[in-house]
């Protein structure tokens, strides 16, 4: 099974000892688990300096032979968003990662300029509800972002980090309501979670995520391999959907 991971990271990590810091480290881990390509964001952009983090991630991607697909992060209080995104897109960025719970407890209306610019530049917008499934990390609720998704129908939105329970159902409802919504699986840990999503949502917009290297990649892959869904659906989630989505990006 060809695997593309939609929830990778590159960079140092301040929360526990982690061996994989560089793009080369992450690709070695990807190799060990059969991951061909990964969409990656910068841990520095998540935790501290978004500008330096974007430089890091673009540099790592440039040296990866196309295996690392860079998504950038922009402080949502920043002016001149459109110009910045144009620069980042020209430098190879394929999308944006927004961390509402990590960055200012961002309100959806604060992301409107970013989404407008993303629409102009053909960039994917990832709304990260949880960076990883860790009980010590903040979590954002997805429901308040529905208006933003409806408003920017020309933007492809990836909802990152949903787990079980009500948050999963809100995500599925958004996916079924809006054709520009995609869900990724890195934090979905409930029993039979992927099969449940496939039963209730359009499988063509479900994306595999493992959270490499912050989460054990074997876990993210195992839950897809063991999911009680068809082989075609597994292929779609493992890489075909990601290939199609990334083709949206200019």
């Amino acid at each position: 099974m060809t695997v593309w991971d939609f929830s990778g990271f590159v960079g140092a990590w301040g929360y526990w000892p982690l061996k994989e810091r560089t793009g080369a480290d992450v690709m070695a881990l990807m190799d060990a688990h059969g991951i061909e390509r990964a969409v990656v964001g910068s841990t520095r952009a998540l935790e501290s300096d978004w500008r330096l983090g974007n430089s890091d991630i673009l540099a790592a991607a440039a040296e990866s032979g196309g295996r690392l697909v860079p998504f950038v992060t922009i402080d949502n209080t920043q002016s001149g968003t459109s110009e910045l995104l144009a620069e980042y897109a020209a430098a190879g960025a394929k999308g944006i990662r927004c961390y509402p719970s990590h960055h200012h407890n961002t309100l959806p209306l604060q992301l409107e300029p970013l989404c407008a610019a993303a629409q102009d530049h053909g960039l994917i917008v990832t709304l990260v509800m949880r960076a990883i499934m860790d009980w010590s990390f903040p979590v954002a609720a997805v429901e308040p972002f529905e208006g933003l998704i409806a408003q920017f129908s020309g933007v492809q939105f990836v909802i990152h980090g949903l787990n079980y329970g009500q948050e999963a159902w809100h995500g599925i409802r958004l996916l079924n309501t809006y054709p520009n919504v995609w869900l990724e699986t890195s934090c979905l840990q409930g029993l039979g979670g992927i099969a449940r999503w496939v039963a209730h949502a359009d499988v063509s917009r479900i994306l595999l995520g493992t959270g490499v290297p912050l989460q054990y990649p074997a876990c993210g892959i195992a839950k897809l391999e063991k999911a009680e869904i068809s082989a075609a659906d597994k292929e779609a989630i493992a890489h075909r959907n990601a290939q199609r989505l990334l083709a949206y990006s200019t």
Binding site: W16, P17, L18, K19, E20, L29, H33, I132, M133, D134, W135, S136, F137, N163, G165, C187, L188, Q189, G190, L191, G192, G193, G211, V212, P213, L214, Q215, Y216, P217, A218, C219, G220, I221, A222, K223, E225, K226
Partner: protein, 245 residues
């Protein structure tokens, strides 16, 4: 031999699960798990005796596959718990005790220590859904008990602080860490083993709440030796319970 040390049977409307023993055994078979160490949800938060009896009947039906925890609600620690432990040992051969932070009140209270002491006297491990701080108190007061910290701190209750759990285990040789969790932080198992060794890490899935394949992969996919994986998957529990492997 793979032993899953953290399994729930029964129905929980609150947690939106329903699983019979047969459901659990199917999951075990699908994932290559040999034995399930089970706690009954009814016993844990509703009716201690009714739930433990239900589980006891399942143990009699599947003696080679099902190990039983005597589930003791917090409010029952000083309300028949010791008698219930003895009863379940003698009637059903239950091998462990489950204590659980529900409702959200501390497990550490004067009445918990006699429960731990009774567990120690029967050589029964205790699976405690608890925090590192609470486990430290319990392990300090009753060091002869085998205390297993459910989820190793990877819960909302314990604020996801698995490194604090490792610190607690470093300080208390009788404290063991159980692996089931939604959190699958890369490197966490390697770090844990570097601090306390593999002999005090116990495999669990929390089925039917969590995806079993993820919990298996957390151990099988970690960068640790096969010998350590074997200890975690079942060797440690088999040793503790003196099971034939």
């Amino acid at each position: 031999m793979i032993i899953d040390a953290h399994v729930h049977v029964g129905v929980s409307t609150a947690y939106n699960f329903s699983a019979s023993i047969d459901d659990l055994l199917r999951l075990a078979d699908d994932n290559g798990i040999d034995k399930l160490f089970v706690t009954d949800f009814t016993a844990l938060i509703h009716d201690m005796r009714e739930g433990n009896d239900t589980l006891g009947r399942s143990i009699r039906q599947h003696p080679d596959r099902i190990l039983g925890y005597v589930s003791i609600p917090t409010m029952n620690f000083d309300n028949g718990a010791l008698e219930e432990i003895d009863r379940c040992v003698h009637e059903y051969g239950m091998r462990g005790i489950k204590i659980y932070s529900y409702p959200m009140i501390p497990l550490v209270r004067p009445s918990v220590f006699p429960v731990l002491e009774r567990a120690a006297s029967h050589r029964m491990p205790i699976l405690a859904h608890s925090t590192a701080e609470e486990c430290e108190v319990m392990a300090s007061r009753v060091p002869e008990a085998f205390l297993m910290m459910a989820h190793s701190g990877n819960t909302a209750l314990a604020r996801g602080d698995w490194m604090r759990a490792v610190q607690a285990a470093e300080r208390h040789p009788s404290l063991l860490l159980e692996t089931a969790s939604s959190a699958v932080n890369n490197g966490s198992l390697e770090y844990t083993l570097s601090r306390i060794g593999a002999e005090r890490v116990i495999f669990g899935t929390d089925m039917p709440l969590l995806e079993v394949s993820v919990q298996m992969a957390r151990v099988s996919g970690a960068a640790i030796t096969q010998a350590d994986k074997d200890l975690i998957f079942g060797g440690n529990m088999a040793r503790m319970l003196a099971l034939e492997t």
